[in-house]
């Protein structure tokens, strides 16, 4: 039986138990006239039965689909024909993959696949048996659950409380997903990074000055020893983020100040959505713009001035990234500047200060913690930004403070190490996870500091 058919049947059973239970609840109360003797509204009895019908069956379905394939595969391995009996590990996986392909009817008729025909047929029959067993069990479970719930119905059953308890559990479960996501990120990155650090010493990674992750395929190959010193990546990331911040912070802040303190409401209403467009443009578009338009522009400008500008210069990437972050800085600063109480401004203006003096000496100092928090969040975004640098920054790690040269960043390296075919346990791919760990920890630190600063600031004026 196909999964979709099974699900459809289960749906039908759930609806049926709802209707039956609801009717039964009304009947036990002696028709609609006696409905006030019921503890809950009749529909709650329906939901109660529906939950009993759906819950156990779905749980079984979930567990079955997770557990059945390994068990079936275990059986298949035991039934493999003679030459394949003794193989282990990755080669076994290849053979089993062939079995799967054959069973799905997509075999390409290689020699190995011909030898595995019988096994594939065995696999297919096992799968079919598993599926029909699952269907029978699930339907029985749904029937049992539904009828059990129906039998429990009497006017004193606290159906609403039962139902609400389940809903509440679902709500609590949904709220913990964020925690599990963080945990998942940490575990996945930490485990792979730990495997990396068992091959490459921790200090060599954090303080090494050379990055060339190409490991040798053969032992006698020249010039591909594989060096995993991440310092050039960190300096490159800082250089590009630094340029971006030099663009984004002054412009973003001045935009926020102008819009909050000077602009007429009509100008504000017009400019804010325009800047939000800037924030809504996908980063891949900025990356394309940086690579195709900005880089040649800067190179020609550099030539006119007699400067050597690399075509993947940190300057061009940083400029475009800065523009991307402008709306981020300006909207965060806008919020905090607006939150400064008007009384402070009025006091300053009443003492004879000009508007700009009020802003510089009263509003900005008052808003400073919030602005600092916003800037920290912006830095965290600049460090983690990926597409712009992947498309427009360089690939070779170089330690330099000259923004006209090409540098590479942490995110670029993560992408280049992980995109394409790789075996999953080479130092090269594991290095990407170590870089990911560093990236996650640094941005986590920045975010938490920023959130604390912003929250404390907000409480100050509320």
């Amino acid at each position: 039986m196909r999964l979709s058919t099974l699900l459809l049947i289960l749906c039908g059973l759930v609806v049926a138990s709802f209707v039956l239970a609801r009717r039964r609840a009304v009947a036990t109360a002696g028709g609609y006239k006696g409905i006030r003797s019921l503890h809950s509204l009749p529909a709650y009895y329906g939901y109660f039965a529906a939950m009993w019908a759906a819950g156990p069956a779905l749980l079984l379905l979930l567990l079955w689909s997770a557990a059945s394939d390994p068990i079936i595969m275990g059986q298949v391995v035991e039934a493999l024909p003679e030459p394949y009996r003794s193989i282990q590990g990755p080669e076994l996986d290849l053979v089993l993959n062939d079995v799967r392909v054959l069973a799905a009817g997509r075999g390409s008729g290689t020699e190995q696949q011909q030898a595995l025909q019988a096994t594939a047929a065995h696999y297919q029959s096992l799968q079919a048996a598993s599926r029909s067993l699952l269907a029978t069990l699930a339907i029985l479970l749904a029937l049992a659950g539904g009828s059990y719930a129906c039998r429990r119905i009497n006017p004193r059953l606290q159906a609403r409380n039962h139902v609400e308890r389940v809903i509440r559990a679902v709500l609590v479960g949904a709220s913990t997903i964020a925690v599990f996501t963080t945990l998942g990120i940490l575990l996945s990155v930490v485990f792979e990074a730990a495997r990396f650090f068992s091959r490459v010493p921790f200090h060599e990674f954090l303080f090494g000055l050379e990055w060339s992750p190409q490991t040798a395929i053969r032992a006698d190959q020249v010039g591909s020893s594989g060096a995993f010193g991440a310092v050039p990546l960190f300096t490159g990331t800082l250089l590009i983020s630094g340029v971006a911040m030099l663009v984004a912070v002054p412009i973003g802040l001045m935009i926020a100040i102008y819009l909050c303190e000077y602009a007429a409401p009509r100008v504000r209403a017009l400019v804010k959505p325009v800047l939000e467009i800037l924030a809504g443009i996908p980063t891949v578009v900025y990356g394309y713009f940086a690579a195709i338009t900005m880089a040649p522009l800067l190179r020609e400008l550099g030539q006119a001035l007699g400067l050597q500008v690399a075509s993947e210069s940190a300057l061009g990437v940083g400029l475009v990234m800065g523009v991307m972050i402008i709306p981020f800085v300006s909207s965060l600063s806008d919020d905090v500047i607006n939150a400064v109480p008007q009384s402070l401004r009025d006091g300053s203006l009443a003492l004879g200060a000009t508007a700009s003096e009020t802003i510089k000496r009263v509003v900005l100092p008052a808003a400073l913690p919030g602005i600092v928090g916003g800037v920290l969040l912006a830095i965290s975004r600049a460090i983690g930004e990926t597409m712009i640098v992947v498309m427009a920054a360089g690939l070779s790690a170089r330690m330099t403070a000259n923004p006209l040269e090409a540098v590479t960043t942490v995110t670029v390296q993560i992408v280049t190490l992980l995109v394409g075919d790789q075996e999953f346990d080479s130092s090269k791919t594991l290095a990407a996870f170590a870089l990911g760990l560093v990236l996650f920890l640094v941005t986590l630190l920045l975010n938490i500091v920023a959130l604390v600063v912003v929250r404390r600031y907000r409480e100050q004026y509320e």
Partner: protein, 437 residues
Amino acid sequence: MNTELPPPDRNPASARVRQIVEAGLVRRYRRERRFRAYGLLSVVSGVLFLGFLLTTIVLNGYSAFRQTKLQLDLDLDPVVLGLGDGADSGALASADYQAVVKAGLGRLFPQVVDRKERRELNALASASAGYTLRDMVVAHPDLVGRRITAWLPADDKVDMLFKGRVGRGSDAGGQLNQAQFAWVDELIADGRVALRFNTAFFTNGDSREPEMAGIWGATKGSFFMLMVTLVLSFPLGVAAAIYLEEFAPRNRWVDFIEVNINNLAAVPSIVFGLLGLAVFINFFGMPRSAPLVGGLVLSLMTLPVIIIASRAALRAVPPSVREAALGIGSSPMQMVFHHVLPLAMPGMLTGAIIGMARALGESAPLLMVGMVAFIVDVPSTPLDPATVLPVQIYLWADSPERAFAERTSAAILVLLGFLLVMNMAAVWLRSRFERHW
């Protein structure tokens, strides 16, 4: 200067203060104006940059919506096509249409006989012009044996030349040669070259040939991925928001959840990609390149956005509604689901649309879960290998052919169009259903 002013009051100290203040006034006003000008300059530069960006992309991309086609007289001779007698639809679909195209080109230039030159001449038509012809013949099998006149896609180099995207300089490496220029000029003079609406761009999957490459595969991939994201993240996000806003006690655990949510909203997207690679693909063994996995990763990314927006929407519902519901005897759960949630729904939907728009433009985490492969087939389920619009843009941006640059910009225009529609829907929803209490 102060001599022109009316005499200040008698107190010599305050007169001195006044003197000092007035001496500085000019400078202070100048500073004021300068500061204000800086602000205006910042605003203008932001707006100008946006204009520059959009103009560049429109100018680069608009021409990709039309494709250069060649008008050819084609003999659909069963012999050339390699069709035997009882040709069924299968043979019709696998016949040699490119040979017909080559014959059609050769008939226009009978003087070209040299093999090398013939090959150069054949290169003027798209290497996939035969497929266009095949679709035509399969749709109308009675065309076989007749002579037809058809507009077939030209090669991307001819396309670029005809659109004026490349010059005829000798430095244009990998471009057309002198003989080919002459043939193209002759074809243009005959009126056999024209720009037609580029249907292939909207109906095809990816291709190595720029003239056959389209965004339909990527669009469908994006659609499947967004559906997965929406189905997972919207109910979960709303449920989490309801719990945190309406039921959660104030304790350490709930604080911890909130810190997690706020932090996840600021975690770099590529880290979510690492999570997807390590957990969904390597641990659970889900298929690479599938929109399902991409959607899972993006749901985790979108969840914080939706939770934060939904909480704001719930908070905006006034306490009086809750009190009234509780006052007439509803349980807290009934109060939330019957009264608060319907009132907060427009705000939540707005948040969801904005979250979806962000997910649509996201590409970095998808590179990690393998949605970056070259995939020609248009996906038909969320489990088929696929790519999405932003990643398609990334892939094309890397291609060396000049014609792909144009198509990249055109794909960006399409993507921006989708984003615009989604954001306008959010704005409309907000203005239509926003309530001031």
